[in-house]
């Protein structure tokens, strides 16, 4: 047990080091979300407070969804096939997928946090219950990372993987996205938190299902 935790730590450290050494990819993602937010801001004629809360919320989650798909799509293509093969001789596939998921969660948390700050500062912030909204962002980051990492693995095996990544992930992410939209809408309206427990429970349940499936299915994926 302690051994596998240590291995997981080493794999995580590798992911962070890799990202740090190829900073252009990370900076690219940060710029992507800031740029997307700014495009939306200018497209709505650069006026604050113009958007209704529903549009405000939906727009933000869609920006976040596209950023997530782009950010996570590269998790298996950054390294060459030979190097991936080398990792598989060192660690078990379960540890590799788990380290990728954890790393992507941290990445998504950073992107969602930055996105929210920029978005709220340029387009105004109608959120009444910021605590709950941040919780929904955290749940969203975890959910996107968990459900998209395996899809990224699948898409990276095929040619034309960028289109495939989007096509495969839209329907998979949709139930999660709908629940998150509902929680975050409750947060914007400042509804009592007890209203949102159901949705939060479902998000966690979907995350758990997808996590267990990734854990079980990834060993079959990497062998090919």
């Amino acid at each position: 047990m302690a051994e596998s935790v240590r291995q997981l730590g080493a794999l995580m450290r590798k992911e962070f080091l890799l990202e740090w050494r190829q900073r252009y990819a990370l900076n690219g993602m940060l710029l992507y979300i800031v740029g997307a937010v700014f495009v939306c801001y200018l497209s709505f004629s650069a006026r604050r407070g113009l958007l209704t809360p529903i549009v405000w919320n939906t727009l933000f989650w869609i920006i976040l969804l596209f950023t997530a798909i782009n950010a996570i799509a590269k998790s298996f293509v950054q390294e060459r096939a030979g190097r991936l093969l080398y990792y598989y001789t060192l660690a078990s596939p379960q540890q590799i997928i788990l380290s990728k998921i954890l790393y992507n969660t941290v990445l998504m948390l950073a992107l969602a946090g930055l996105g929210f700050i920029v978005y709220a500062s340029v387009l105004g912030n109608p959120v009444q219950d910021v605590g709950l909204y941040v919780l929904s962002l955290v749940l969203g980051a975890i959910g996107f990372a968990v459900s998209l990492t395996l899809i990224a693995g699948i898409a990276s095996k095929a040619e034309n993987s960028a289109t495939l990544m989007a096509v495969l992930s839209f329907p998979i992410v949709l139930p999660l996205l709908l629940m998150l939209l509902r929680v975050s809408k409750n947060a914007i309206d400042g509804l009592d938190r007890s209203v949102s427990w159901d949705e939060i429970g479902i998000v966690l349940a979907i995350d758990a299902i997808v996590l267990v499936l990734s854990w079980m299915l990834f060993p079959f994926l990497w062998r090919s």
């Binding site: 699948i154 949709l174 139930p175 479902i202 299915l217 079959f220 994926l221």
Partner: protein, 219 residues
Amino acid sequence: MKNSWWKILAVAILTYTVFWGVLGNVPRQPILNESIRNVYFHVPLWFGMTTLLLTSAVFSIRYLRSGLADHDRIAVEFANTGIVFGLLGCATGSMWANFTWGEPWPNDPKLNGAAVAMLLYFAYLILRGSFDDEQRRARISAVYNIFAFAVFVPLIFILPRLTDSLHPGNGGNPAFGQYDMNSQMRMVFYPAVIGFTLLGVWITELRVRLSRIRAVIEE
């Protein structure tokens, strides 16, 4: 002949369904009126689709365990038939909705869930199309198929029950079984479910045999 009893059964049941579905007595319900007969066709198609997709996922699991190309072939053909059933279910549902809810595609979570489920399985077919190597294709699409089915279940069965839906049995609406269907209707409805599922299995069986023959010819 010995193994084709279930095909005869499917034909018999479906003939019975069509006849008694059209001619049999149905309770007079407000709004629904005669369109309630669609329950013999629309609902069994969805039941059939779910069964076919479940079988497809089971064969994908078996493929991952065994590595036999035949299991993959069966899995994809079950998914194909499931998609056809889903499209037919959408078409019959659309007609029904046009008469009872006033528009062919009302904004209803169950309809949208079904549409997303179709996207999910179209994506599965596109994924299959993007590989040249057969073993690779089989393995990776099996992984996606299992994943897709795990998402399909909450999409169709759990999410619509949490929100307001026009469908019976969802969002606090009573299900059909509770008081819309009388025992006479049930005598048609339950056989119809079995009949359509058998028909789906039959179509799948034919397609699997066709694809086996093609594989042999190519060799």
